[in-house]
Symmetry: C2
Subunit: 339 residues, 2 copies
């Protein structure tokens, strides 16, 4: 470390594995020293921390597409931060980067794992949202896997969330009728009035969700973009049109269950619809990230895509904010403003 005065590195660590919905007791705040920098390493101060549904999976021991967090470890997560010190010649103090810092105020990471952010192009927080993983997830899952055609009816679950808001807007750009499924009237109104969705079904107040979706999609569902799963998907799947495409990019409804949700297991709708259902993980598509970010940026500049952020102040509030996001408190991308 150089000689300037560093505050302590505050960390949020996993203190016990959540059973069902996490509680703040599953996390502990602690201070830690900042290690010295070896060759290729960079010290990054966290400005914004991203909170994402996938993190819940990492807190469990169950098989997943990425390794579990061990008890006592700093919770994983992406952040946007400022380079404080660097032993990687390609990064200089003062630069803004997206970094796999985790839930802590400072992180030492390899330069190769950083993505440089130009703060003049867009607010730096967008590198965790519309111009980051959620935007890329929405872009590739909707346009490259779902492949909506003009005139298609596209249903988006989690419509008020970080990915859902964007997926619906991308489908509108592709000339589709877009129907969201969301958990509050506030989210429904936002998607309809601000984002241009054609209809939004509130799954918490619909008396018969299958019927409500049928009414909103009189010609059936051609593309279903799903980050939720469970009973919402069961209702949508009963309304699939012939040769429908379903893209599963998350299963947030299942992530907090200590015993699996049970329901009808028949996939007979696959025969009536001859649907194609496909699982999606954004990291598989990273070779095309530049294309996607270029297009999304241009849509933002043109005002044809909007985004919203749900910002919580203070790293110490990350556990409560994370729990709130899993409960659907957020409208759009959930972020913790760390400094």
């Amino acid at each position: 470390m150089k000689s300037h005065v560093m505050p302590a590195n505050t960390q949020v660590r996993l203190s016990s594995r959540p059973v069902g919905m996490p509680s703040v007791e599953n996390f502990v705040l602690a201070d830690a020293p900042i290690p010295s920098l070896s060759a290729g390493a960079v010290l990054v101060e966290t400005l914004y921390l991203s909170l994402d549904p996938y993190m819940r999976g990492r807190m469990s021991e169950a098989k997943n597409y990425a390794a579990s967090i061990d008890i006592g470890d700093v919770v994983v997560g992406s952040a946007v931060g400022c380079v404080i010190d660097s032993e990687d010649p390609s990064f200089k103090p003062g630069e803004i980067v997206e970094s796999p810092s985790g839930w802590q105020s400072y992180a030492v990471v390899q330069g190769a794992s950083l993505r440089r952010i130009d703060p003049n192009l867009a607010p730096i927080s967008t590198s965790l949202g519309v111009l980051g993983m959620p935007g890329l997830t929405a872009y590739f899952s909707t346009l490259s896997v779902g492949r909506p055609m003009p005139g298609d009816t596209v249903v988006v679950s989690g419509a008020g969330g970080a990915v859902g808001q964007l997926a619906g807007q991308f489908a509108k750009l592709a000339g589709c009728r877009v129907v969201g499924v969301a958990g509050s009237d506030r989210k429904a109104a936002y998607c309809r009035d601000q984002l241009g969705f054609d209809a939004v079904v509130n799954y918490k107040t619909a008396s018969n969700l299958k019927e409500a979706i049928a009414q909103a999609c009189p010609r059936g569902v051609d593309v279903y973009l799903d980050g939720v799963g469970g009973s919402i998907s069961a209702a949508v799947n009963e309304n699939l049109a012939l040769h429908a495409r379903v893209v599963i990019f998350g299963q947030i409804s299942q992530s907090n269950l200590s015993s699996p949700e049970v329901g009808p297991v028949s996939m007979r709708y696959m025969l009536t619809s001859r649907a194609r259902v496909e699982g999606f993980i954004v990291s598989d598509w990273q070779s095309r990230n530049h294309e996607a970010l270029t297009r999304i940026s241009s849509w933002l500049r043109a005002g044809s895509v909007k985004y919203s952020e749900h910002i919580v102040e203070g790293l110490e509030n990350a556990p409560a904010a994370f729990i709130g996001m899993l409960s659907g408190d957020n409208l759009g991308k959930t972020l913790v403003k760390v400094r």
Copy 2:
């Protein structure tokens, strides 16, 4: 009718809708007059009647990909028969045809709905099996939708059934490791010893089906060809390899349930595997039937594909034979020899 003496037309009609597994009481035998032939119509005497799982769906009122049978109607089904009389100039008495005759000893059908069968090419019963709908289902679902690559591990449910036996053999021809799932040791031995499957799991005796499939598929399941669904599919889906393909051409395990089977609804395996699941109905592929039948015929002549038939004598035994097929009594294609 011309002057030659006709026996009565014996019909099997649906007398009540089955609840759960059908019973013989859901059917009634009756004699009916044979209508006179209008222009374009053909009188066909049934030689073999095909029994297929899809017929169970037609006996229910629930939404399906084809219309329900009404109470009192002759049960639908394909048959191979002999032309007795014809008002369609393209068919002559004595010709052998595949015909949508239903469960009856004679049928008057439009010539346009008939397919001429050459009895010199293969036994005529094969036009209902390996050279008919089951063979086409296995061909297109395995090779055109599942698209196995040499070295892939392919799992086939209902391995001892009409479609499963062929699907597994077609995957062997494509250079794959083939693992069947079947409901008896007799079927398992047949698939292994006669058809060249690499392994067969008996789902009725496996103490832990997920584990048994994992052991038979140490590199995971690249392609899953599924006509069964339910708990068998749940166990296979937990073993999918990255970018697996699942083809659903039936859901026989679900067809007799008076209330839906419930089980875990999470599709998290779609994220870990990034699988593609696709529903399949053979009629969507009929523009390529000639290609498929030509290739399957050449494989039969070369001895590289085998088939087995489960033949029951007498139209009056069709209901019991149908129930037996739904219970898994058959090894291979279930047929009723009507005359």
